[in-house]
Amino acid sequence: MATAKPFKSDGLAPLHGAEPVKGRSLWQDARRRLFRNKAAVGSMILLAIIVIMAILAPLLSPWAFDDPDWGYDFPGPPNIETKHWFGTDGNGRDLFVRTLYGARISLLVGVIATSVSLLIGVTYGATAGFIGGRTDNIMMRIVDILYSLPFMFFVILLMVIFGRNIFLIFVALGAVEWLTMARIVRGQALSVKKKEFIEAAQAVGVSNAKIITRHIIPNVLGPVIVYMTLTIPQVILTESFLSFLGLGVQEPLTSWGVLISEGAKQMESSPWMLIFPAAFLAVTLFCFNFIGDGLRDALDPKDR
């Protein structure tokens, strides 16, 4: 065993102290760039406010979400004295608190369904892209076939068989969104695969599974994250659409889609029933889109 040669300086400036220097990862660089984007930061703050309001819903209003106010109009306009800030709906329930409870469901659906699609899509896509060849071909053809199935038909089928169950909605939406995610990740994996550090890992003898998890996936996450922030609003919108059709969450639970559906029916006589949930939905969608744009700029590979 040869002894180590004396240390030859690389000409680096001498650093004092024994503590190793903390590195500045690419994620940190991206985060800095993101926070310089005013629209994205504003959107994050706004979104955070909505989320906090949704969590604190019971504390923000004296009314319960499923308790009709017998002493007020059915439906009643917004009124400061009775603390019906958004008015009441056709069953006399306070709309403000229901909008916030609706936020819970809508946001939950958005985040959970997207996370499901992320998990399945990233693993599937990275594996297909990395292994390549015939396996990749078969895996992607499966995706193509699933893509061509009519989504609505599938969801209605599930609803009919299993009844209207909130978890079913998560599954149904996640099961559709993972397909596009898989395609995106596979494309990214194909280009990452050609990079020399993948070859370096192979030369060291790293197993394929480890290469996928440690080398491929962290390097495809950029576009994935951006796509995620654009998927969440899509999922929320789809859920709203389902609710609009009457296939969404069960009473007395509510989501923005349900509220909008009810509100649309009463649009002329009680516009507040439509305006408030619709406004919340629109603002949330805008926020996610601005954040997605900001992320895309921050993670731009050109800067790497």
Binding site: S9, D10, G11, L12
Partner: protein, 320 residues
């Protein structure tokens, strides 16, 4: 004096601050002469001439004086500059594929230039262009004339680019790393071509490169750049036989030579090229210099004359 660059300074504004890529650079090229400009990354050798040609990126600003044939060309209007670019002086680059439009045939790209600048007919332009393709040594010039760039090999593309640069018989050709991307046997052909054309057309050349061997073969005078400044300028013989700047000396000593054999370690220059955003207060080469003393750390050395047609930017009196 054909080309005279005086006190040229080019700055780029980046999100991380201002970067001074070219710092008070002065160079001269006489008619028919070849000036070699040597430097590594961050030396500014390319940006000097991009500034002169008006090809700077949007976030770059340049100031100073550039005289071509006695005429100030820095700060000219684009229209006026276009009358000179490609006509009085031309530039060729490292990657021919980026200067040749892949969607147009070579014929179109070449005749376009002639028709635009010389006002001759398409037919006359085509004849002239084919003549030039012959001149640069492209075999079967008539046939190749009608081809697309991607149908040419690397060496041929470089020749085509040279031909395009010469269409209007410029008095000055600026070649930025023209052979770096080429195989060494093709490089030899292209360098011979450039040297031959210089003599034949009485054209001055500026050869920008990091390769000292290329410089030795072609240049009459050599300017060595480091960290955005000229650190030494002299005739090619003086530079190679008695370099007076520690950087020049270090470069020459660190290169293994093909015609000598040694088992000893190379004399590597320690450290790495300077970070233009964090240049030291004194001489930018000082952190890596074997000869550095106190003054070098505190004071940036100015360019001073040390002999007939020789300048260097160093506090040292002399290096043996």
């Amino acid at each position: 004096m054909l080309l005279e660059i005086q006190n040229l300074t080019t700055r780029f504004s980046t999100p991380e601050g201002e970067v001074c890529a070219v710092n008070n650079v002065s160079l001269q090229v006489e008619a028919g002469q070849c000036l070699g400009v040597v430097g590594e990354s961050g030396s500014g050798k390319t940006q000097v001439f991009m500034s002169m040609m008006g090809l700077l990126a949007k976030n770059g600003k340049t100031e100073g004086i550039v005289n071509f044939n006695g005429r100030q060309i820095l700060g000219l209007e684009i229209a006026e500059l276009n009358r000179l670019r490609g006509v009085e002086f031309s530039m060729i680059f490292q990657d021919p594929m980026t200067s040749l439009n892949p969607y147009l045939r070579i014929s179109r790209q070449m005749t376009e230039v002639l028709v635009e600048h010389r006002g001759i007919s398409e037919k006359e332009a085509a004849a002239k262009a084919i003549e030039l393709l012959h001149l640069v040594g492209i075999p079967e010039a008539e046939k190749r004339f009608r081809m697309y760039p991607h149908e040419f090999s690397g060496g041929m593309r470089q020749r085509a680019m040279i031909a395009m640069a010469l269409l209007c018989e410029p008095k000055l050709l600026i070649a930025d790393e023209p052979t770096t991307a080429l195989d060494v046997t093709v490089q030899a052909q292209i360098l011979d071509l450039i040297a031959g054309l210089g003599r034949k057309l009485d054209m001055a050349t500026v050869l920008i490169t990091h390769d000292l061997g290329v410089i030795a073969g072609l240049s009459d005078r050599v300017a060595v750049m480091y960290g955005g400044r000229v650190v030494e300028e002299a005739s090619v013989h003086e530079i190679f036989n008695s370099p007076q700047h520690p950087y020049t000396k270090g470069l020459l000593e660190s290169m293994p030579r093909l015609d000598t054999s040694s088992d000893k370690a190379l004399h590597a220059i320690p450290g790495q090229p300077p970070d233009l955003q964090a240049l030291p207060a004194g001489c930018s080469f000082e952190p890596r210099c074997n000869y550095a003393f106190a003054r070098c750390h505190a004071e940036i050395p100015e360019l001073r004359t040390i002999g007939e047609g020789r300048v260097k930017a160093c506090h040292l009196e002399q290096i043996s």
